[in-house]
């Protein structure tokens, strides 16, 4: 199946599935139309939630004849997924499902995604395409430095790399020294992890004078926004090639799209996903090149198909053949979010989760501020709380207890650790309207 493009002289430029990755625009649209019609029929008959939504919009499956009818369909949002928790959007009996993943929701409950065996196979195919595009082959030894578990990063990258035939070392997260030891001892040639973590690894290697001892050639980084400057740093300091990989749990996980060595945008695998850009206010479709909210429709997914899912990621899309020969549309640099979600150390965090954690103090939320920054390539996450009389104490011990209690509940709610800082009343901005609760000082867009 592995096909090498003519331009490949260096082991780069690998197609995993040239027939699909280099289809003509007509072929892409024809395939998308065929698969969309089939998908709409499936969900209309199998998912009550979608059937009702379509009926409310006055739609029947026969109204959708191809991708030209896509904009008739109602959107799906993460509120829909939350309402359907846990399995309300499932289009198959649970006996046909083989896996669950989840990412944090806006409040207590996670957003769950379920997968059939075929969904896992398609995911592995998509990740294999991305890894192959990054230069990785079956001859490589890859360390997966994403968390294994409910988070899609670890298992998603793992299955894709195995599908590719590479030798996978499932490192997961949390032990940099062991990662470096195995990188040197096993002769690791590729790594998949967050870009900020890779920079952290680079620093550790430099500090120990070990950069010359590694055989690393490629990195596939994702799960958090990063800049061209960060990529340059990674490439120069480790003497490797690094590419960006994109995905989201609701849609599949990492591998929905990735960039090639030309860095002209993230190729989205259009034979499985239909991307659209909409105006987040008017909800109208926008033409290629214009910036708006990315909306994705899954046309092959069985477990939890999503129709016109609003990702809340702001970007634009370029159509047209890339220098690498691939014809799949390219998602451009992300310009932020149309909601207030933050990505901190690769984890999705909503201010509402922090608010919920603060309720634990005594049932009401004090004035607070979330401060996010990036210091030495690591995200910092601080929550300032104005000390009010109702939970103030004249004993330092009790104030410290309060602080660690809040830190624990934020950790439980979001999955990552925050530093809680107690501040004087009126130290934080108050306003009459919607008080600003987030200060993200990172320069990522």
């Amino acid at each position: 199946m592995l096909v090498t493009a003519e331009s490949d002289k260096t082991g780069f430029f690998m197609y995993w599935n040239e027939t699909k990755e280099c289809m003509s625009r007509d072929q892409i649209e024809e395939l998308q139309s065929k698969r969309l019609v089939k998908q709409i029929n499936r969900i209309y008959h199998n998912v009550e939630y979608y059937r009702k939504k379509m009926q409310e919009a006055g739609l029947e499956p026969s109204d959708i004849r191809g991708i030209e009818d896509l904009d008739k369909l109602p959107f799906t949002t993460y509120e829909d997924i939350a309402k359907a928790y846990p399995f309300g959007l499932s289009a198959v009996p649970l006996s046909e499902a083989v896996r669950v993943h989840a990412s944090s929701g806006t409040t207590g409950k996670p957003k769950i995604a379920i997968y059939t065996r075929k969904d896992i196979d398609i995911w592995s195919e998509c990740v294999a395409r991305c890894f192959s595009m990054a230069g990785i082959t079956k001859n490589d030894i890859i360390q997966v430095g994403y968390g294994y578990g409910l988070f899609t990063g670890g298992l998603g990258a793992h299955y894709g790399a195995e599908n590719l035939g590479a030798l996978v070392i499932p490192m997961s997260t949390g032990n940099t020294k062991k990662l470096i030891d195995m990188m040197i001892d096993c002769g690791t040639t590729a790594i998949a992890c967050t870009p900020s973590y890779l920079l952290h690894v680079a620093e550790a290697l430099e500090a120990e004078g070990l950069v010359d001892k590694i055989k690393l050639k490629y990195a596939i980084c994702g799960a958090e926004p990063w800049t061209d400057n960060m990529r340059k740093q990674i490439e120069e300091r480790l003497h490797i090639k690094a590419v960006d990989i994109y995905g989201l749990t609701e849609i599949m996980g990492p591998g929905v799209a990735a960039d090639c060595e030309h860095h002209k945008g993230l190729h989205i695998w259009e034979d499985h996903f239909i991307p659209e850009i909409i105006d987040p206010d008017t909800l109208e479709q926008l033409p290629a090149g214009q910036t708006g909210e990315l909306v994705i429709t899954t046309i092959t997914k069985e477990g939890m198909p999503l129709i016109r899912y609003r990702t809340r990621d702001l970007t634009s899309i370029e159509i047209g053949k890339c220098d690498c020969g691939r014809t799949m549309a390219r998602i451009q640099r992300f310009k932020g979010r149309s909601d207030d979600m933050l990505v901190i150390r690769g984890v999705n965090v909503f201010p509402s989760q922090v608010e919920q954690a603060l309720l634990e103090i005594d049932g009401t939320t004090p004035n607070y501020m979330i401060n996010v920054d990036r210091v030495d390539n690591n995200d910092t996450f601080e929550v300032q709380i104005e000390v009010e009389e109702r939970f103030f104490s004249d004993e330092i011990r009790k104030l410290e207890e309060l602080r660690s209690k809040v830190e624990n509940s934020i950790h439980q709610m979001t999955g990552i650790k925050a530093k809680v800082r107690l501040v004087e009343p009126n130290a934080l901005p108050h306003s009459d309207g919607k008080t600003k609760h987030v200060n993200d000082a990172r320069k990522l867009v």
Partner: protein
């Protein structure tokens, strides 16, 4: 038993100064003060001559404050006296959370202490014939003004 006014302060220049200015402008005299701090925040523990006025001045300044029951006790100026008192408290199962001095002189010292059980601590101290001060006595500690 007396009331202590505790004020939350961030650990940065000027915060204590501003709080004390509020007291000064409202003509509140500080009889005793103690500062406790961590790397990020601190607590000013104050015994003032006029509690009501002191607290409203602090609130007016936008500070978070709380009142706590503490014991003010006059100590004889002789070796071992404080230890003897603490001996009695610990024998009664009372824990001392913190303490600080209000004033010292040749005749004795005034000590402020926060205990796990202020009412019982006062009983124990009275039994030990220690001189426990009341809220009204505090004005005297501050001198004439």
């Amino acid at each position: 038993m007396v009331k202590q006014l505790s004020v939350f302060l961030e650990n940065k220049p000027g915060t204590l100064n501003k709080a004390l200015l509020m007291l000064k402008n409202n003509d509140v005299n500080i009889v005793a003060i103690s500062l406790a701090d961590t790397s990020e925040f601190g607590l000013a523990r104050l015994i003032v001559d006029d509690l009501e006025k002191g607290r409203s001045a602090i609130r007016e300044g936008g500070y978070t404050s709380t009142l706590a029951d503490v014991i003010a006790v006059r100590l004889a100026q002789r070796v071992g006296y404080l230890q003897e008192i603490l001996d009695k408290l610990s024998a009664a199962g009372i824990n001392v959370e913190y303490m600080y001095t209000a004033s010292t002189g040749p005749d004795g010292a005034d000590l402020i202490m926060k205990t796990s059980d202020p009412a019982k601590a006062e009983e124990v101290l009275a039994e030990a014939k220690a001189e426990v001060l009341k809220q009204d006595d505090l004005r005297k500690l501050g001198g004439d003004n």
